[in-house]
């Protein structure tokens, strides 16, 4: 029982949820509602800003303040809102097309400015709302209505982009692991600064199974690696595999066969930017033989001053230096004369 007595259902609205049955978005919505209840969030102090896409319908289903804005621009709207009222808990909901294609520019800039907002990028490697064109995260050679002979573009690596933009919190989760997602949502919320959480989301209509390698029971343990701060990088059915660094090169080792123990493994350090960059580069196409496991969890977390705090500090500094602005002085300027 939470102190403000709100339950997950108190965060739902009376609007019919319009996602396709079986869509991964449902799971994300459910986890966000649960987490908000568990964190005792006050619905009146939360604003959820989205762009356009299936994923961006999200605010309509959350009983908080919210805005379904225009395609790709949620980070810009959220920036203005956060600057106007830094006390709000601001969440940005975006998709792989919304956040990385049309809105890629804004994403870079909000991350480098480090406004204190939480960004949830629902990655389904497809344009859902416009009925199934390939997206910037789609794998090469994807056949869609717009790419009948296969897509040509090399995919974007969202976490590598975020880290390169000097994001201060970079994490990945998946729709089919609610527990992990809840932990990641709570970590995002806790982080002061822009948190970037990519969530692998299944679009069962246009890109079913895009992430099954990572999410399916049969293959999950051998293809996904779950990061824990201070813990060695292990994965595999019985945690029998690990990653060690051979100089600068990550190397998969089999703890049961190779001559290594857990002590030889790479120990995850969320504060290590260089290692985080390498982890973000664990991005092999899972169709490829011997691919590195895909990391989930917090790849990177650090602190940096937030844009809106500094902006407001400058206003105070200006008042300290020059005194609170006087309207008559402003209007008159420095040189006047009488007639």
């Amino acid at each position: 029982m939470t102190k403000n007595n709100l339950k997950a259902k108190d965060f739902t609205t009376d609007q019919d949820v319009r996602w396709c049955p079986g869509c991964g978005d449902y799971s994300i919505l459910a986890q966000v509602q649960k987490v908000f209840a568990e964190l005792e969030m006050n619905p009146d102090e939360v604003a959820i800003i989205s762009g356009i896409g299936c994923s961006s319908r999200f605010p309509y289903y959350m009983n908080t303040y919210g805005m379904h804005s225009i395609h790709g621009r949620a980070p810009a709207v959220a920036s203005g809102l956060k600057i106007a009222n830094p006390d709000l808990s601001v969440w940005i909901i975006t998709g792989d097309g919304d956040g990385l294609s049309i809105g890629g520019n804004h994403l870079l800039h909000i991350l480098r400015r480090n406004l204190d907002v939480n960004i949830l990028l629902f990655n389904n490697q497809i344009y859902g709302l416009t009925k199934g064109q390939y997206s910037p995260t789609s794998e090469v050679d994807k056949r869609t209505k717009s790419t009948p002979m296969g897509s040509l573009d090399h995919p974007i690596n969202p976490l590598a982009v975020a880290i390169s933009a000097d994001a201060t919190f970079v994490a990945r989760s998946m729709d089919r692991d609610p527990k992990h997602m809840k932990t990641m949502l709570k970590r995002s919320n806790l982080h002061k600064g822009s948190s970037f959480l990519e969530i692998y989301q299944n679009c069962n209509i246009f890109n079913d199974g895009a992430f099954f390698t990572f999410t399916d029971k049969a293959t999950k343990k051998s293809s996904a690696i779950f990061l824990e701060d201070g813990q060695p990088l292990v994965f595999g059915e019985n945690n029998e595999k690990g990653i060690r660094l051979d100089g600068w090169k990550p190397q998969v080792i089999d703890l049961e066969i190779d001559n290594y123990s857990k002590d030889d493994l790479w120990i995850h350090d969320e504060g290590d930017l260089y290692k985080a960059q390498m982890l973000a580069r664990f991005f092999d196409d899972p169709r490829q033989e011997g691919f590195l496991p895909r990391p989930f969890g917090v790849l990177y977390s650090s602190e940096r001053v937030c844009y809106e705090d500094q902006l407001l500090a400058q206003l105070n500094e200006a008042i300290e230096q020059k005194g609170e602005g006087n309207l008559d002085q402003l209007i008159a300027g420095s040189v006047t004369w009488e007639i």
């Binding site: 009146d44 805005m67 009222n85 006047t336």
Partner: protein, 615 residues
Amino acid sequence: MSTKIEKEEITIKFAGDSGDGMQLTGSLFTGNTALTGSDLATFPDFPAEIRAPIGTLAGVSGFQLHFGSRKIYTPGDECDVLVAMNAAALKANLTNIKKTGTIILSTDGFDKKNLRLAKYADGENPLEDESLANFEVFKIDITKLTREALKESPLGTKEKDRCKNMFVLGFLYWRYDRTMQGTIDFLTQKFAKKQDILEANIKCIKTGYHYGDTTETFTTQYKVKPAPLEKGTYRSIKGNEALVIGLITAARKSKLSLFYGSYPITPASDILHGLAKHKNYGVKTFQAEDEIAAVCSAIGASYGGDLGITGTSGPGLALKGEAIGLAMMLELPLVVVNVQRGGPSTGLPTKTEQSDLLQAMYGRNGECPLPVISASSPSDCFEVAMEACRIAVQHMIPVILLSDGYIANGAEPWRFPNAGDIPSIKVNFKKPIGEDKTFLPYLRDEKLVREWALPGTKGLAHRLGGLEKEANTGNVSYDPANHEYMIKTREAKVDKIADFIPEQKITMGVKKGDLLILGWGSTYGVLESVTKELVAEGLQVGHTHLRYIRPFPKNLGKILKNYKKIMIPEINNGQLSKVIRDQFLIDVIQFNKIQGVPIMKAELKYAIKEVLENM
């Protein structure tokens, strides 16, 4: 001893290479002129390139000042005096001097290289041939005199030569019988930390002044008496400055924080610069990554309870279109300032044009009518800025404010108001409500305006968005009848603003008669003064100038009926003409000049007379 001649009005043009400091010279001379009590208008004319090749025609930077002992409406058609620092500056302005005008030349700017760069034919030199015979020409070797004056100065030759414009300024101060102290004080402040430069500048001003005084070639000084301006306290103001001050004043008067999201673009950047200087007035400026982010950030700020403003020029307005439509659907306040410039595309960035009226009116997807208002002079920008903010917050709507490059950079004397006399702008945020009540975000009052409900307020959690909304609840709705109803309602909401703006007035001339001169924006001065002259000649002409273009003032239709013909002069291809024809089903006579420069009095007067003669 020189003789002193009194003049009613004088137009001077300072022209030189971008690096010659003509803009500063012009501004300082303008400031000095204002203090004498003359009325004035200025027209700075920048080259397109920041650093065009030295000495070329493309690199000529000009500053025109018109001042007089009567009301001054325009920066003047042709100049009485041209100051030309080099051959290119002379060539570029030769057609702009009155037949008997005066040319002050810096002879060192007419060497072989300069003549070639100014595209004079081989062997041709206007200083030596008869081409300037009709003018009064003063040839001064300003470089030599400046260097001579500064021979003791520790500055390098390059830095010394940069003081040439101060010599010019000093000389003109003598010619127009001025005092130098104000300028010296200004320089003392500006170069407080650069003693050598300060001393050199002062030395050159004084040298220029004494040069006029002691050289026997110069026998005449000119004097212009103060103009019969209304009594009061004045300052000099440029359009972009007035916008900055007006926006800040509106924020104060509405008790809102000002948020300005913008992306640099000529000629709007000075608004961003100006606002950024005033953080101690609680002004938040946000230099966004592009125009789309700029407008979206302003929308977000308005959603959060700030006065969200964005500013740009034509190309930027095009980028903002989709987001402005969003703000219109969200029914949140937003002010969009567009300082117009020559278009289309990148067009003529540094030149003026009334380029975007149609873009402002119609340049969005779907049925998206919005209030559009325009500024008619530099000082008018102050009031228009406050009006834009008032309409935005009181009618919960994005307002497009049109200025242009001409008034943005042009200056005029302004009898400014007391802050205390400016009425406050009432804003009501929706108050918190109890759990037993439901909040209907799209419920409207008698003005058809919904309430401004801020995130963070108890009980008002609601979702906004660009999808069509159901009346009252604001829920997403695909209902056909609802869509039509909402479109009509949003249009009616804009039209209703007409109940809250002043009626249109005839500012000059007859209230009923042969011809109405109808204008908007920066052409105010030229239309007003031409009308004044025509009326003095006994012609049946009236002038009215629109501030509010959408909606039009309610009595505009009636005014249009009071004249046999209507002429609409514009610095574009006839944009207001289209709107007037569409709305009132009447024909109008167009007068269009699309050359990146203001309309000249003479050309307009000629055109009007032709119309009147053929009636």
